[in-house]
Symmetry: C2
Subunit: 119 residues, 2 copies
């Protein structure tokens, strides 16, 4: 494989809430996404999901608290935990999660992408 420059990869797309795959290892995928606005409440029954903020600020709403992440911060949502990401302004994130996870988890929404692409 070739190395991945995240800044170059982020420059290749502008759609929100549509994760792009940039790497794969050990059955897991590394994805990047630009997000803005509110996502949907959902959970992943069998997969933990890592969020890392690369630029901007992301709120991860849980049923019991709100985690606010800025650049250089990571949060891992455990499997089965309902969450709803919200970004007031455009935010760039990196995701780490098992291959072929549905990004809206148990919820089918108009934000659901059935096939995620490499960028």
């Amino acid at each position: 494989m070739k190395k991945v420059n995240l800044h170059e990869k982020f420059a290749l797309f502008n759609d929100y809430w549509s994760p792009k795959i940039v790497g794969e290892l050990n059955g897991q995928q590394v994805k990047i996404a630009k997000v803005k606005g509110e996502f949907v409440w959902h959970d992943h029954a069998n997969e933990d999901e890592l969020f890392m903020v690369m630029k901007g600020e992301l709120e991860i709403h849980l049923k019991t608290e709100v985690i606010t992440l800025i650049e250089g911060e990571i949060y891992i949502v455990p499997k089965g935990v309902e969450h709803k990401p919200i970004a007031t302004e455009e935010c760039w994130i990196l995701l780490f999660e098992p291959k072929q996870i549905a990004h809206t988890g148990n919820v089918q929404s108009n934000l659901t992408k059935t096939e995620e692409e490499w960028v």
Copy 2:
């Protein structure tokens, strides 16, 4: 779990080539390390290993080429591929790899840490 601020975590240690665990998900661990100088040639028979540079510059020497990573760049070393990381100046990296991988892989070296710690 709590969120992880990588800058705060990097401030907690100064030893080189001694990865610290900062997160765990789906049987994988997220680690950070400060590195400087040459590591040893090694491979991991069954595990792919992700390197992300957070600060500075890292060379990943492979038998066939040298991959040079700067901040914001990622490289995944596939399982079984011999590699030797080298950092001329201090470099901060994030690693993503299966839990309980030996960081010197098939090689026992004076750099080998038998137990890695959370930070």
